[in-house]
């Protein structure tokens, strides 16, 4: 499962695009507790419950365990070799070993000095620890600590087998922790340290296996792949110098080595520091070139890596310049891939993030990506019921909708989406409970709503009302995304005022969200209110709901995004004359003046407009003047933005008018 979901606030405003981690209640896959995955592991009872006899092999395995216990070194080796011939991944085998008390023997063998015994034991352990009871027992017996110690041995074969066993044991949180606490990470990292020449020489040939040194590196890579599912471990791997070693190994042509190496890198790319390093080392190129490989698993990991790294703008450009966009589109166009859910998740994820760059959207347009995405969406959105529980499908849908949302920045794509009937399936997904998916759905609708033609379609599909209902969603990122997307709907719809009023309790809901603790929500809602307030009737309604006081309360914020939206809302609310004085009384004016100290141009624009509106009330002028607004206004008059110039000038004029009136009054009074 992929971790990150981001919100792009699709509404065009001149502030910087906001990327925000969706607040998921579910923890990311990197920290998933796999401990609870056991269905009851087979034990003696379940094996015999079928009524049949235990297979012959069961007894043979048990006998061999006995010989292990009572044998000398020679007998031990022979017994171990014989044991390894059985199907160790089969449950009956594993149960036989447990039942005969074989685990303790295996663990004890790891403590001896005998290299052969250790290797023999590790070879068996590697397979049997897939059984949960065995894994737990071996862990309890200190098996992991022993294996970590073995990593320090000079014997390469020993290190190789220890690494392979650790790779299995470190798939679980407890195992990872034990390796970490026993200083295992630097030791595993060391395994990857091979000569450059050895890397270059290893050929991509499945018959001839790698040299021993490279096998050790591969074993180490598998161990790292398991270990790096923990965030702490990822940082330790970097600290231990793991990254340059991975960078060296990725140049290899050998698929069996590339898979764990790239697998590890894509897992680690959850950390920004890795993404930056990958970018700097030129590894994006390696991901792209390996995506052309026949091996589907390899392609998937490359796509995953790109998905995660494409958070960075430069990486997105690098993927394009290295020709990475075409293979991704090809993968998704190939219908035979559609059943491979993990592959689809990775590729759609990559396409989503890559679409954050306009350059890439252009290329995707040429490759006719959008219709493919729409079809894929329709394919995957079938059977809404199982959606709630099918995490894999949800991830794919989240990514697809995210990609569509980003693509919808381009007007031509919006047309395509409209014409291929893409809106309906997207809107239908509002029924989902996944925050990540909902955020992208909202963003998509909002982006589509930039076109007046589309709004009607959205309305007909009940999209605006459904979007509004998302404001009730407990997840704050969802609320914010919905709120951002409502603004273009409100702005562009015909009879917008009526439409808004038709949502029962809608306005009350919006005003209520002004009490949220979340900055994004506040900014988005303020912006929505700014748009709602353009309709006189609705302005009266929200004034009744106490919006003035609520907005004023927020005015002290230092956050520029919120400031700019707040100012816009205040500005529009002043269309109702009585609100101007109300704002003043509620203490909104003085904070607004301090907004002008910000460097953000958007803040200046909306604040100038707000101050102008507020200055129509004389008491506000007094407050403004006392707050030292005049030098700021003088500065703004020189602004490049015409609207700012005018607003500042008008505001200043009102203040001067008042000042003059005061002078006149005083003069007259003194005269009297």
């Amino acid at each position: 499962l992929i971790i990150m979901n981001s919100v792009v606030s699709p509404v065009s405003y001149s502030g910087s695009p906001q990327q925000q981690e969706v607040k998921e209640d579910i923890v990311s896959s990197s920290e998933e507790e796999e401990e609870e995955e056991e269905d009851a592991a087979a034990d003696m009872k379940t094996l015999t419950s079928g009524g049949g006899d235990l297979p012959q092999e069961f007894w043979q395995v048990q006998k061999l365990v006995r010989y292990l216990k009572v044998g000398n070194q020679t007998a031990t080796i022979i017994a171990l070799c014989n044991l390894a011939d059985f199907d160790l991944k089969a449950q009956y085998c594993q149960v036989a070993i447990i039942d005969a008390g074989g685990l303790e023997v295996m663990a004890n063998l790891l403590e001896t000095d005998d290299v052969k015994c250790k290797i023999g034991s590790l070879k068996i352990l590697k397979d049997i620890v897939e059984h949960p009871d065995i894994r737990k027992s071996i862990t309890k017996m200190g098996g992991i600590e022993l294996m970590v110690q073995i990593l320090s041995d000079s014997n390469k074969k020993l290190k190789l087998h220890a690494a392979e066993s650790l790779a299995k044991l470190a798939k679980y949180k407890k195992g990872r922790r034990i390796v970490r606490k026993n200083n295992g990470i630097p030791k595993v990292v060391d395994l990857l340290d091979v000569d450059n020449t050895k890397v270059e020489n290893c050929i991509d040939n499945n018959e001839v296996d790698l040299s021993l040194d490279m096998q050790v590196a591969r074993g180490g890579a598998y161990a790292l792949w398991s270990l790096c599912k923990s965030k702490k471990n990822r940082m330790l791997i970097k600290k231990a110098g793991g990254f340059p070693l991975l960078a060296k190994l990725i140049k290899s042509k050998n698929i069996s080595l590339l898979i764990p190496v790239i697998g590890t890198l894509q897992e680690c790319a959850a950390e920004k520091s890795y993404c930056m390093a990958i970018q700097a080392e030129g590894m994006v190129q390696d991901f792209v070139s390996n995506m052309l490989n026949d091996n589907i698993e390899l392609r998937r990991h490359c796509a995953s890596a790109i998905f995660k790294c494409a958070q960075e703008e430069e990486t997105r450009a690098l993927v394009k310049s290295n020709g990475g966009l075409e293979p991704l589109v090809e993968l998704i166009k190939d219908h035979s891939n559609h059943d491979n859910k993990e592959l689809m998740a990775a590729v759609t994820g990559a396409l989503w993030k890559l679409s954050m760059s306009d350059d890439n959207v252009k290329t995707f347009q040429e490759l006719e990506l959008v219709p493919v995405l729409i079809n894929l969406l329709k394919e995957n959105a079938e059977g809404l019921d199982d959606l709630q529980f099918n995490l894999g499908k949800i991830q794919i849908l989240t990514n697809i909708v995210g990609a569509i949302a980003e693509s919808a920045k381009a007007p031509q794509n919006r047309e395509t989406i409209r014409e291929t009937g893409g809106l309906k399936p997207v809107i239908k997904l509002i029924a989902s409970t996944s925050p990540g998916l909902l955020v992208n759905v909202a963003a998509c609708i909002g982006q589509m709503a930039e076109d007046v033609e589309t709004i009607e379609q959205i309305r007909n599909l009940d999209g605006v009302r459904l979007l509004w209902s998302l404001l009730k969603n407990p997840n704050e990122s969802v609320q914010a995304a919905a709120a951002w997307s409502l603004s273009p709907c409100i702005r562009n719809a015909e009879n917008s005022g009526d439409m808004v009023r038709s949502f029962v309790g809608g306005l009350e809901l919006v005003c209520g969200l002004l009490e949220s603790k979340d900055q994004q929500v506040l900014a988005a809602i303020s912006f929505a209110i700014a748009n709602i307030a353009k309709d006189k009737e609705n302005l009266a309604v929200i004034t009744d709901h106490g919006v003035i006081h609520k907005l004023a309360r927020l005015a002290v914020t230092q956050d520029d995004l919120l400031r700019s939206k707040l100012a816009e809302a205040i500005s529009n609310c002043c269309e109702l004359e009585t609100n101007r004085a109300l704002f003043g009384k509620a203490g909104a004016v003085a904070p607004l003046v301090s907004y002008l100290t910000s460097v953000d141009l958007e803040v200046h624009r909306t604040t100038a407009a707000a101050l102008h509106q507020l200055s129509k009330d004389p008491w506000n002028c007094v407050t403004m003047h006392q707050s030292g607004v005049v030098p700021h206004l003088l500065r703004l008059i020189g602004s490049e933005d015409e609207a700012v110039q005018e607003a500042a000038a008008d505001c200043l004029q009102n203040i001067r008018k008042l000042a003059l009136a005061c002078e006149k009054f005083r003069y007259q009074h003194n005269k009297a």
Partner: protein, 207 residues
């Protein structure tokens, strides 16, 4: 130095030059091994007998199995005259310490083939493995466990299913699973003893 010893030295030099070509050793290593031979032999004689050789195996490589040590002696004593001369010493140690995988497979098979008939039979296995399981004391037929283990091992090794282990059976099995090389008992140095020996007796002693 006596005249005899001067002659022997000259002989050695010549032999060393020939042996360098036939073995994995360097000149220096051969010289030092010959020096060791002299030491272990306790004198100038060119004949190390079985007892001295077994002492050597025991002291330097912790070997204790009589049957196997005997077989090793026989392997070294290629001309089969009951003693190991210098040449046999070097040639034997060549495989013993620095044998390639193929050489070692050949060596082990020869060791385990007790009667030298080209096959390792069940009876031979029983001879070598007789004491490999600790007796539980209460068993009537004390060998039952060993016989069973041998049965399993034979099945594993006997690829052509003729009831005995030929060289090619052995070779194929070991190449697939290297741990089976010394399946019937230790007859080669362990990593540790090998390393220590090389360090002490073969590496040049200058810094």
């Amino acid at each position: 130095m006596t005249e005899v010893s001067i002659m022997i030295r000259k002989q050695e030099k010549k032999m060393t030059e020939i042996l360098v070509k036939k073995t994995h050793f360097s000149m220096g290593e051969i010289e030092r091994l010959l020096h060791l031979y002299r030491e272990k032999n306790g004198g100038e004689t060119d004949k190390m007998d079985r007892t001295l050789f077994r002492e050597f195996l025991h002291d330097c490589f912790d070997m204790t199995d009589d049957i196997l040590m005997d077989r090793i002696f026989k392997y070294f004593d290629s001309v089969n005259d009951g003693c190991i001369n210098r040449e046999e010493w070097i040639m034997g140690l060549n495989v013993f310490l620095k044998g390639t995988e193929d050489e070692q497979i050949d060596y082990c098979f020869t060791i385990y083939d007790l009667n030298g008939d080209g096959y390792i039979s069940k009876e031979e296995m029983l001879t070598m493995l007789k004491t490999c399981l600790v007796r539980q004391g209460l068993e009537e037929d004390g060998d039952e466990g060993v016989k069973d283990l041998i049965e399993m091992t034979l099945k594993k090794l006997d690829l052509d299913k003729d009831g005995k282990v030929s060289f090619s059976d052995f070779e194929s099995t070991v190449k697939a699973e290297n741990l089976m090389l010394e399946a019937f008992g230790p007859c080669l140095p362990t990593n540790r003893t090998g390393e220590i020996f090389i360090q002490n007796y073969m590496d040049s002693q200058e810094g």
